[in-house]
Symmetry: C2
Subunit: 776 residues, 2 copies
């Protein structure tokens, strides 16, 4: 019987009351002792859907073609802030091939972004915001029709700089004011003043980080189609069940009449956590036209409207004793959340919990501006915050003349500084140790001396990573055993490109005692699948994996029950290995399918649910990255030579795909550190580089030597699988490690990201250290 308990859930220092249903099966955890020999878990496993992916058979949302499908394209506002005075779509409607034009004139009023706007609003708050949808027989006709829509805009005053937006007479993005919730998010512990009084040294800096754009391989998009009164949506999303809920609410539909499908996806990185306006527009247009409607965004639209990592201005002040022990931290962040925010942004996460520091205060100001709305972006807040915190820690180390690594170990948190609970596992020390070894930390001064020239300086830097872990309930899975001895795993999760199908197949095969090739994983369909959380927050494997294991164990138990009876072997003497029943006494092996021949079409359905996380422990993931850079003093160019990334995220299920995760995180972090920045023209209020030609993501040319390793440390207290999740961790410390290496090379710090040649050169010309204030 499911048991309901009231519980408190902690998120970033806040506690929320929640009900939780205890329904996870009581499985003996797969612990670090490995009480059994694994065949698949922990072994490098090429992606089970690799052939589909490389042959083009895999269907991404962009590949969905339905008979009679129409194309929808969106008209976007050219002004950073404007009111529509008049909109005339008649000429567009008359263009042959145009089936529908939707706008504020004829669309239902559907609240959007927590009611801050509507699906089609007459007030537009950033350049790129949606004005109208044209639906036509062909894509090209859409573009012609977009040109024929006449809109008279009344331009309104605008602001794009979050610091300016906080000034009293700044143009108001929303009537309620530009500061989200009218106040910063404040967290405090101990006595900050006292902490700084106790400090022997104090360091302070102002850090600036840019707004970064996700630029997933696959742009956002949806295809909507009505089957009678059921809406079917193919959506490039990280959360099919979330899109289901959102669209059902927007259109007033019951959940069982909205089917969301996503089989393959070219990345999300947090930008696809929810349905887009394009999704609901496609659904509305499909209903009105009676035909399937595809609405895909191009790279420009995507980079204007579908989210970004907010830019920050972070003031950070650390107080410490002579020996390095932190006595106080103050961290104030101003975050540019753009025109809309679903929740407050924050950069203070790592500050609050990475180090043991008794006196601490953080303030996060989420500020509206007339720019595209921010969204989650791989480890939201932690990438920005870690850059500031870990840079400041290096400055403190320099001031105290301590080895940066030693300083970190001095402040190593043995329990979580917010909840005061112990960690289930914490492998950060191991990551430090192994990382230092792999980069040659001890010999770095020697290398610097040997390698540096008059015009080129070599530097070493490192940074730490902390992040939440283990995901949690609810997540469900079913495992069907087919009469030929194959298994079908039914989930409701999605593989956003990380290898979810493969890892879940490994887990299911392991738990069943089946060969891997006999297991197939189904995901990405809300109508048939069972609930899984969004594939974000590094929680897919840690949430869905235990549910799959539980369902597979349930199926295996049933299989053994039945097999024992048919084969007339005592239940405690029969086991399953590689798809065969094994009699422990005789050693006789019988393929599973043999007994099914006698049990015509008998099917086993195992059921599993993700149980709750432990209440008395903190679950976190940890890691450290080390960078070696060479800075060209003449050109200002930073060349990252090597990144060592060592992370601890519990058990490693698939070393092959986890390494891809580390590589990907490091490369994305490298882009953030060196080249990527959204450029806004403050006079016109426009983003000037929404294309991949002008927004510089790293190319293969830019990728350094990356050494990626995991501290494989099964965490049986986290969940019965022992995994904690690894999607976000590897991007978190990269920029900080590089910035520290650059500071090490230059002898002074550049407080702003990205570390482009112009910034490095300007800093070199200034000729003296800066605490970042001159960047204000």
């Amino acid at each position: 019987m499911p048991k309901v308990i009231k519980t408190e859930v902690e998120f970033e220092g806040r506690f929320y009351e929640e009900y939780i249903v205890l329904e996870g099966e009581d499985l003996s955890p797969w612990g670090p002792d490995r009480d059994r020999e694994f065949r698949f878990v922990g072994k490098p496993q090429p992606r089970v859907d690799g052939p589909e992916r490389v042959t083009g058979a895999a269907k991404f949302t962009h590949d969905i073609q339905l008979p009679g499908m129409l194309y929808g394209r969106i008209l976007r506002c050219p002004h950073p802030h404007a009111r529509i005075q008049r909109i005339d779509t008649s000429k567009a409607e008359k263009l042959p091939g145009v089936r529908l034009v939707l706008s504020a004139e004829n669309a239902p009023e559907i609240p959007w972004r927590m009611g801050l706007t509507q699906l089609f609003d007459r007030t537009l708050r950033y350049a790129g915001e949606e004005v109208a949808l044209v639906v036509a027989d062909e894509e090209e006709i859409c573009y012609d029709a977009l040109d024929l829509i006449e809109v008279e805009y009344e331009p309104l005053p605008f602001v794009v700089d979050p610091v300016k937006a906080l000034e009293p007479n700044a143009p108001k993005v929303h009537e309620s004011g530009n500061l989200l919730n009218g106040a910063p998010e404040v967290y405090e512990r101990g006595d900050l003043e006292k902490g700084f009084e106790e400090a022997d040294v104090v360091v302070e800096g102002v850090f600036r980080t840019q707004s970064a754009l996700h630029n997933c391989m696959e742009t956002h998009g949806s295809v909507a189609h009505w089957e009678g009164d059921t809406l079917v949506i193919w959506d490039s999303t990280q959360h099919i069940f979330g899109v289901r809920a959102q669209v059902a609410q927007a259109l007033g539909l019951p959940l069982n009449r909205v089917r969301v499908i996503k089989q393959y996806m070219g990345g999300g990185f947090g930008s696809k956590n929810a349905a887009g306006k394009y999704t609901v527009m496609a659904a509305l247009a499909a209903r009105r036209t009676g035909r399937p409607v595809q609405v895909l965004l191009d790279r420009f639209e995507e980079n204007l409207a579908t989210g970004n990592r907010p830019s920050t201005v972070q003031t950070l002040k650390l107080g410490a004793k002579e020996d390095g022990r932190l006595t106080a931290i103050y961290h104030k962040s101003i975050l540019n959340v753009g025109a809309y925010a679903a929740w407050p942004a924050s950069a203070s996460g790592p500050t609050k919990r990475l180090y043991s520091c008794p006196n601490l205060k953080t303030e996060d100001y989420s500020v509206y501006t007339n720019l595209g709305p921010f969204s989650a972006f791989r480890a939201p807040g932690y990438v920005e915050g870690t850059f500031a915190l870990e840079s400041m820690m290096d400055e403190l180390a320099r001031k105290l003349n301590l080895d940066p690594l030693e300083l970190r170990l001095k402040n190593y948190a043995e329990i979580d500084p917010i909840t005061n609970k112990p960690y289930t596992t914490k492998g950060l020390k191991q990551a430090y140790e192994r990382g230092a070894q792999l980069i040659g930390w001890e010999k770095r001064e020697e290398v610097k001396k040997t390698r540096s020239t008059k015009t080129k300086r070599v530097g070493f830097g490192m940074a730490s990573q902390i992040w939440g872990g283990s995901g949690g309930p609810p997540a469900y899975a079913l495992v069907k055993i087919n009469p030929d001895g194959t298994a079908t795993v039914i989930t409701g999760t999605q593989d956003i490109g990380t290898g979810t199908r493969t890892a879940l197949a490994q887990i299911a095969a392991e738990a069943l005692g089946f060969p891997l090739e006999r297991v197939r994983v189904e995901l990405g369909d809300t109508q048939w699948g069972v609930y899984s959380p969004l594939s974000a927050g590094s929680m897919t494997l840690a949430s869905v994996g235990p549910a799959v294991r539980a369902a597979a164990e349930d199926a295996r138990a049933q299989l053994l029950d039945v097999g024992a009876q048919v084969l007339e072997i005592p239940r405690d003497r029969i086991s399953l290995e590689q798809g065969e029943f094994v009699d422990a006494r005789s050693g006789e092996r019988t393929p599973v399918q043999t007994i099914f021949e006698k049990l015509l079409n008998y099917t086993i359905v195992g059921k599993g649910a993700r149980g709750p996380n432990p209440e008395d422990k903190n679950i976190n993931t940890f890691g450290a990255q080390f960078a070696r850079v060479e800075v060209d003093l003449e050109t200002g160019r930073v060349r990252v030579e090597r990144i060592v990334a060592v992370h601890e995220s519990g058990r490693v299920v698939n070393p092959l795909t986890i390494r891809s995760q580390l590589y990907g995180g490091v490369i994305q972090g490298l882009g953030y550190a060196l080249t990527e920045r959204r450029l806004e023209d403050p006079r016109r209020g426009l983003v000037v580089n929404p294309s991949l030609e002008t927004y510089k993501v790293p190319t293969v040319e830019d990728v350094p030597d990356i050494v990626a390793e995991m501290v494989d440390m099964p965490d049986p207290e986290a969940n019965p699988l022992g995994v904690k999740g690894v999607g976000e961790p590897p991007i978190i410390p990269t920029a900080a490690a590089i910035a520290n290496a650059v500071a090490d090379a230059l002898g002074f710090r550049v407080y702003e990201l990205p570390l482009t040649v112009d910034r490095v050169l300007m800093a070199l010309q200034r000729g003296e250290p800066s605490r970042g204030e001159d960047n204000k």
Copy 2:
């Protein structure tokens, strides 16, 4: 824990050993006492998918269009028996737009029809058998290409008459001989000779029935598409899981890599119980071309190659006492199974078990001929057999000067004559009584006198129906409760047009305590669904319904467990009504979705399995039909004025769709009685009327006044739902009742179906009664 038992299953007098897994939940049956008031079960419910069906949104296999889809069309043999000497497809292959030609030259050898032939065989055994498949960009190109294939046939001797086929020197359809298994299927009980000796009267007759064609609204067809190494098939089938198994075996694929989908279907009537050659051909062609391939049959092909009701020659001899009690029955049937048979045909089912008769022998001869293979056709064998048996019973009644109904009551079986087990329920007497009342049986002589003229004779006839019932395991279902208080029922069954979605929704809503509109039923997908048996044998509702009920009860129990805890109401005081929790003490009602708001994304999954049928009882369905006809003595035309159909099939779940079943069965029975017959030209070995222009199915003009009623008699011993299934019963007695009414009108009997004007006129010209021997 699932319990496995060895058991004996009886089918048509034969007993088969089988293992059965006892896994049905122990549900208190929904008995006739109706211990609760039903809201949905037993209430007329328009089809939940009615809007999709009437608006054209419902996707039948014929509607499946995939991007890049190719069309496949089949070349068929023009000879009744031939060997391919040479086949040259090169000209066809060169035709622009042709992508592939498959034939014995280049296709793999895949055994077909129990190994009697292959997918592409070089020996063809009937006109219409598959020779080659052309795949092209357009359907029209296929037809052009078919003309370009050069085939040199060596014609072989052939036989189409089953009686002739049994002669020693008849051409051999198969090397093993023309009699299936080399012997008739024989069943015997008591002492036949003694039985006839004891008889006061003996009647005998030879009955002939035609080969009938299914002519479903939707012809057979498949669309196949490979997604990587997974084969996806849309198939117009009565058994998606069966097609999965068959195709997986034919192509050597694991079951979890074959996904069979069927959402809507225009009828099957037994002709779509298994995959067709077109299915496997489409799969092969899709693999070779790398594109989706559609292979649909047209009406001609369908009527030549996809099955038929076998024609029969039945010799029937009854012995009875003066008072009407049967002492002996002998029944010999020769059945024309065409070129291939998956199993022996039989017409003796009703004879064996409809009446209590101690001495009995039946012999069924399944004879191969050079005609299209037979297949199941709505109540296979029982329609043919009931015509003969119930005709003969009327002849016996006439000889004994007994009321035909009285004769039947004299021989009423109180226990099953084969197994000697009692019935769970038997409502045949009630059906007789109600039917007699509705047709005016008592006053029939009066009506005949009043209504008959010099040239027109009115007659009354009746016939009984027996058929198996209740289906059985395995069948499974899942019920998901969504956070908005809606439910999704997951099954693996198929709705072949009978209203399965609607009935299952009624059952789920009833068991859950939810409003019907909150329940949605998913079916027709092997990859996501859970096993259900084929939708044939009248077993869908009786097999899947109890599984759905069990899954819904399981989900409801979980919901109540959780609701009680969240609402803090004792578990024994809380109930569910119309989607609301009800506190029995306060009467307070709380919508289900309210508690889900506190249980973020918590999902309930209920699981149900169909339990076994009782071992000590027989489950059968019963019914009686009464016909009033007018025969025109000048034209020979039989006009059926009224049919009264009263059937007992356990509980009535949906009176609306069950009435449709009765209407449909009666109309199909009427066609069989009066107009439908496949015409074979014995000299050429060809079917001459494979079109709907020449093969006469009843039109709206032919439909008489039909009075359809059910004896609503919930059968709690059959299964926890109390239903027994109604798909086949209504076609069984129709032809017999009409034939008896015609005999009543004419004063003598026509022993051959259909009762076309030529037969009636010829019989009238003969001017004297016939026992059918002159038809030999």
